[in-house]
């Protein structure tokens, strides 16, 4: 193993690696021979040169960052050992941004015969040299300078990181998330999955994405970056990172997803933005990034993680809801009529609207519907599409967009400089107002709380099982459905008693989805929904008393 000492000391520094004041780290005399994997660079942590004039500035780490740049694409061949009279833990306390010193092989010099050589020999024999690249080291550095607090996901599931250079990121992610607290795929597995996706076949990453808490992925997974090549959107869509994303999102539409890529092209971002990416952070691949920028890079990364964590409930909700959407695509109305109680309600709803006999107040008990009526079925099918495809999906999309609001609108939203996030709560209100009205429409439609219906169970006080006619439209005070009206009226009223927030809408949409997933009409479950809404919208009031605490399937 060839040893290259990098130091200000001419006595020990290797030829061409003597560091002088005018030393330019960008011009390190690294050769192809050095990149063969048979060279070990032994760096004095305290090298001084122009730009790092003081010994305490730990200029050796700056040199290491330029070595990373020189070894781009060959990081497995870069072997570095630092040395200093100061213990590495203390060096990092003095300069937290040099956290990488803790992770790389290190000799604390005792200036005793044989000590340095013995430790160095042991390091060489162990042959364990953690890999980084400039981007992963910059993120680690920014994280450490931000306080080196591990990211808490507080979930049973783990984040999934899809990066063809994952070996060069592992040490960084081990610090950020904790060892074994995230999942990865190897470069080979990623390559095979991309090939499968392109061949329109099943792919191994599918299950990993499905079971993940959220996904962080790269844009260029199997190809070179081609940074000089002008690309239009048609070409971008052929890039592996996009193809994987688009394929996965076609199934897991609400999977929280962050792109982390060295590409900072706005065109790439726009493409992913149009396809619903939740966050985009740029890998900073420069060797000379200022500390402020590293801190900002980490803060962007961390804000992305916070956003993804906020979106995980939507992923869970979508996974519950997805089978229903699939059924709608593949099954006929007749089949859905057997599977979901509320499809029958839709038949009654549309029939009651057109049935003249019904309008002339026919006796309830004699009222029957012809479920084979083609016109009726068409109307029901249209309504199913409205409920499932439009209302629920649009509400989820609206919520997701709203979660991104602080990043989109924090500054200069309407050309004014003094708008703060707090001023923007009206946007929350606007989205929630729209969402709640949308969802109320579904509730109203399937429970017909605002319509006449001759069936005996039409009344929301179902427990009584009384016969009702259209004359008995008035909903009683004790009726749980009353609360739904109250919510609708309160959020739309000019003097509304509270500002509807995303949290309100989140509870509402979860309740509606739970309701749609019930096989049979289930009074207790409806009551549970009402109670949940009561607790969310009016936490200090029990508007409807004695409602159940759990949902019953």
């Amino acid at each position: 193993m060839q040893r290259i000492f990098i130091s200000n000391n001419t006595e020990i520094a290797s030829d061409k690696f003597v560091i002088t004041y005018d030393f330019n780290a960008a011009n390190l005399p690294v050769t192809n021979e050095h990149k063969s994997g048979n060279t070990i660079f032994i760096i004095d942590c305290h090298c001084t040169f122009k730009g790092a004039e003081k010994i305490q500035q730990q200029g050796g780490v700056t040199i290491y960052r330029y070595l990373l740049k020189h070894f781009e694409g060959n990081q497995d061949k870069l072997k570095v050992v630092f040395y200093s009279p100061i213990a590495k833990e203390d060096l990092v306390k003095l300069k937290p941004e040099n956290y990488v010193l803790k992770l790389l092989p290190f000799v604390e010099c005792n200036y005793e015969v044989g000590q340095f050589e013995n430790e160095l020999t042991k390091i060489v024999l162990d042959n364990k040299f953690p890999q980084f690249n400039n981007a992963s080291e910059n993120l680690l550095s920014g994280w450490a300078a931000n306080g080196a607090e591990p990211i808490q996901t507080n979930a049973d599931k783990k984040p999934l990181i899809i990066d063809d250079q994952i070996i060069e990121w592992k040490e960084t992610y081990n610090q950020l998330f904790g060892k074994n607290e995230y999942n990865v795929y190897s470069k080979e597995e990623i390559t095979v999955s991309i090939e499968n996706i392109r061949a329109n076949e099943g792919y191994d990453l599918f299950s990993g994405i499905r079971d993940s808490l959220f996904v962080i992925s790269d844009f260029y997974l199997t190809e070179n970056h081609d940074s000089d090549l002008w690309k239009d959107r048609t070409v971008y869509k052929t890039i592996s990172g996009f193809q994987l994303y688009a394929k996965a999102k076609s199934v897991f539409r609400c999977k929280p997803w962050m792109l982390q890529t060295s590409s900072n092209r706005i065109y790439n971002y726009e493409l992913f933005d149009d396809w619903g990416i939740d966050k985009w952070v740029v890998k900073d691949i420069r060797p000379d990034v200022k500390l402020n920028e590293k801190i900002q890079t980490y803060q962007q990364f961390n804000s992305g993680i916070l956003l993804l964590k906020n979106l995980t409930w939507m992923d869970e909700l979508w996974k519950k809801f997805m089978p229903l959407e699939k059924k709608l695509k593949s099954k006929s109305v007749d089949e859905l009529l057997k599977e979901k109680w509320w499809v029958k309600e839709l038949f009654y709803y549309y029939d009651s609207k057109r049935n003249k006999n019904f309008n002339s107040n026919q006796s309830d008990s004699n009222y029957r519907i012809d479920f084979s009526d083609t016109a009726l079925k068409t109307q029901v099918e249209k309504s199913l599409n409205f409920i499932v495809r439009k209302t629920i999906v649009d509400t989820l999309l609206g919520i997701r967009r709203q979660y991104r609001k602080p990043f989109q609108y924090e500054r200069n939203r309407l050309g004014v400089d003094d708008v703060t996030v707090e001023d923007l709560t009206n946007l929350d209100e606007f989205a929630c107002y729209a969402g709640i009205l949308y969802l109320f429409t579904v509730i109203e439609l399937i429970y017909r709380i605002n319509t006449y219906h001759p069936q005996k169970d039409m009344n929301l006080t179902w427990g009584n099982e009384t016969q009702k006619s259209r004359k008995n439209k008035q909903i009683e005070e004790s009726d749980p459905g009353k609360l739904l009206y109250k919510i609708r009226n309160d959020v739309t009223h000019i003097d509304r008693p509270f500002s509807p927030s995303i949290e309100h809408l989140k509870v509402y949409v979860k309740c509606v989805v739970d309701l749609l997933l019930l096989k049979d009409r289930n009074t207790k479950s409806f009551d549970f929904l009402i109670k949940t809404l009561n607790n969310s919208f009016y936490p200090d009031k029990n508007i409807i008393a004695n409602l159940p605490d759990t949902i019953t399937q």
Binding site: P85, A87, L94, Y111, K290, N292
Partner: protein, 156 residues
């Protein structure tokens, strides 16, 4: 090499600055309105009478901590009484170091180190190791290391 630039074309005030910052004037401080003097500028004090149009996009200026003052020169009162400043240090918190030392009577090179986030005592203790050979047995360095460690532990 200048680390602190006072951008002020008034020669009377320039003399005052030189006097006030006598301890660092030649090595670290430059009173100037020439962009040729901007190399390694870390702190940039600007008198409002003097235009910065010529340097406002110069990275040496952009990357420095910037202070603006007006009327009667750069007195401690002006400095302390809320003139605008912008932090461009590596660590933004270092700007508060400027405020820490503003009411000192005499400024020294150690004050500049302090503003730049450097520790002069640590630097002194590290000096014996600047060109040390880690392979050699060296009693002097062992003793120097002892003193260095004692100081580092006392800091933490």
């Amino acid at each position: 090499m200048a680390k602190i630039i006072i951008w002020d074309s008034n020669t009377t005030r320039a003399a005052e600055y030189q006097s006030k910052f006598a301890g660092i004037a030649n090595e670290i401080l430059k009173v100037t309105t020439s962009k040729d003097d901007l190399d390694d500028c870390k702190l940039f004090f600007r008198h409002s009478n003097d235009s910065i149009d010529e340097i406002e996009n110069d990275t040496r200026y952009v990357d420095s901590i910037k202070f603006e003052f007006s009327g009667g020169g750069l007195t401690p009162e002006i400095i302390k009484n809320g003139f605008p400043f912008e932090a461009k240090l590596e660590n933004w918190k270092d700007v508060f170091r400027v405020l820490d030392i503003l009411d000192k009577e005499d400024f020294t090179i150690d004050d500049v180190y302090y503003i730049l986030g450097l520790d002069p005592k640590l630097e002194k203790l590290l000096e014996p190791f600047a060109t040390a050979n880690p392979l050699m047995d060296n009693k002097v360095l062992r003793e120097a290391k002892e003193a260095l460690h004692t100081y580092i532990k006392s800091k933490s």
